[in-house]
Amino acid sequence: MYTDRMAVPTDGKLALLEKTAESVRETIVRSLVAAGSGHTAGALGLADVFTAFYFHILTHDPGDPESEERDRLVLSNGHVCPALYATMAHAGYFPIDECLTLRKFGSRLQGHPERALLPGLETTSGPLGEGLSQAAGMAYAFRMDGRKNRVYALMSDGEQEEGSTWEAAMFAGKNRLSNLIAVIDRNGIQIDGVTEDVMPLEPLAEKYRAFNWLVLDADGNDIAAFIAAVDEAKAVQDKPTLIIARTIPGKGVPEIESDYRWHGEVPTVEEGERFLQELRTAAGQVPQGRA
């Protein structure tokens, strides 16, 4: 059982987490090449966040996915599931090789996550704008029962355009759900282009603050910084917290980083080989997250 670690990771642990995130990225690329369809940019961009969750932040047990004590991570933007699957596999929920069945007939790794098929998934998701409210429902129920489990909701920035997201934000703010920590993957892209062109979201932090949330900003590709933000959020007692995690879509593969066209594209076999090479050489040398 991984337990709730409040402390900032040691330098040694941090190096291990970063190495794990690189392995997760490689698995993401392999699984997307094998699948032949899916979402590359967001999945690579979130490898650090998922690694931070499954290898440091969450209380969970891959050997007992239904454990009553586990924290809940609700993935709202289900299309980045290659990153979730890869991280869960590396954490020990299922064999890493199973990631190569992504999107295949008969696979537990559906194109968008299906709770009933894969132990460890907290919900079925993909249609946008539904994760925050499910997480809020869980947080509300845990508080009713005096349970200490924390609930995390991971959303995309594009899905902030869904009205239902704001219904959930209003509900969580009203009920001061301090056991709820939401994360927005602020990678700035969506299918049709850059978010600020498609439908401007800024000032995003001010919007959530107006809904009675505490809002923190973090570099979502800096594991230590992200963990520090989550630690800060855990200390909040009177309201839900949003962490705007700024990430680089396609992170780790310089030739596709920040290119919105890779939102819904996958590498060919040849590109996959090149991406894996780039991932290995770029590890540790990649640019800092955009502010």
Binding site: T124, G137, Y140, A141, G163, A168
Partner: protein, 329 residues
Amino acid sequence: MLNAEAHLSAKVFADDIEKAPSRDGFGKGAVEAGKADENVVVLCADLAESTRAGWFQKEFPERYVELGVAEQNMATVASGMASAGKVPFIASYAVFNPGRNYEQIRTSIALNDVPVKICGMHAGVNVGPDGATHQMLEDIGMMRMLPNMTVIAPADAEEARKAVIAAAQTGRPAYLRFGRSATPVFTTAETPFRIGKALTLFESDDPQVAILSTGSLSYDALLAGRALDAQGIGVIVLHVATVKPLDVEAISAAARSAGRVVTVEEHQSAGGFGSAVVELLARYHPVPMRFIGVEDAFGQSGEPGELLAHYGLDAAHIEEAARALIGRA
């Protein structure tokens, strides 16, 4: 004659039969379910009084969740609560719940297979003066198409109460349909109710037509059946509260026995209960049929009785359809 085993009200055909809206049954059933299981919670979207969710709120304020006018959020918050061990009932008008939040129900409740009970109030034209915007006539179709979903349209407030209590115990998603206006409470505490089980209300010795109905129009179906019987036309009147899963055995048996079927619902004829019966009988025992339902139209303002007559849903129209079916129009 009346089916004695149905234990219908002694006043079933009396002028002074008690009347109540089936949503009252939701209010009572939710309180009873809440007493039996502390995990039962009720969520409502700013309609505590008219949905009767307020009755639960009064009894269990700490287990009542007010969402404001946000039916989409209500469905998904309920999904999350169900994942955390609760048994949520979500109450609003059927036009919004499941009308507005259909996709949330599809993904986060049905596909996710969590035990949220969707309670659609003010279904059908009996909403009355509010008009077409608030008269939901497509909900049975929407909900019965969803895998994992059970669909129940109780006959009256008493059966609604039992349906709510039963739905709380299934551990699966369910849709329950309730009406706004007061209709006869013709079943009793002794009337049997089981999800998936149809109830014979009336059966003649030599049935020529079976009237299969769902929801509160089952009372009108019963009145029509009694009138037909008095005219020497043998009938079976079968109340089918559970539209999904249908009672294959009872429906097939009624079709075999009578050879003709009239279906009755306060819903679009397309896609609803009648369609479900056709799908079943086409497979097991095809027979000539007639459909009592709204024919590809929206509702409008008016008194419930006027509207039921206008759209051809009342006892007189049921009787007429049955006679036409056996060539005695």
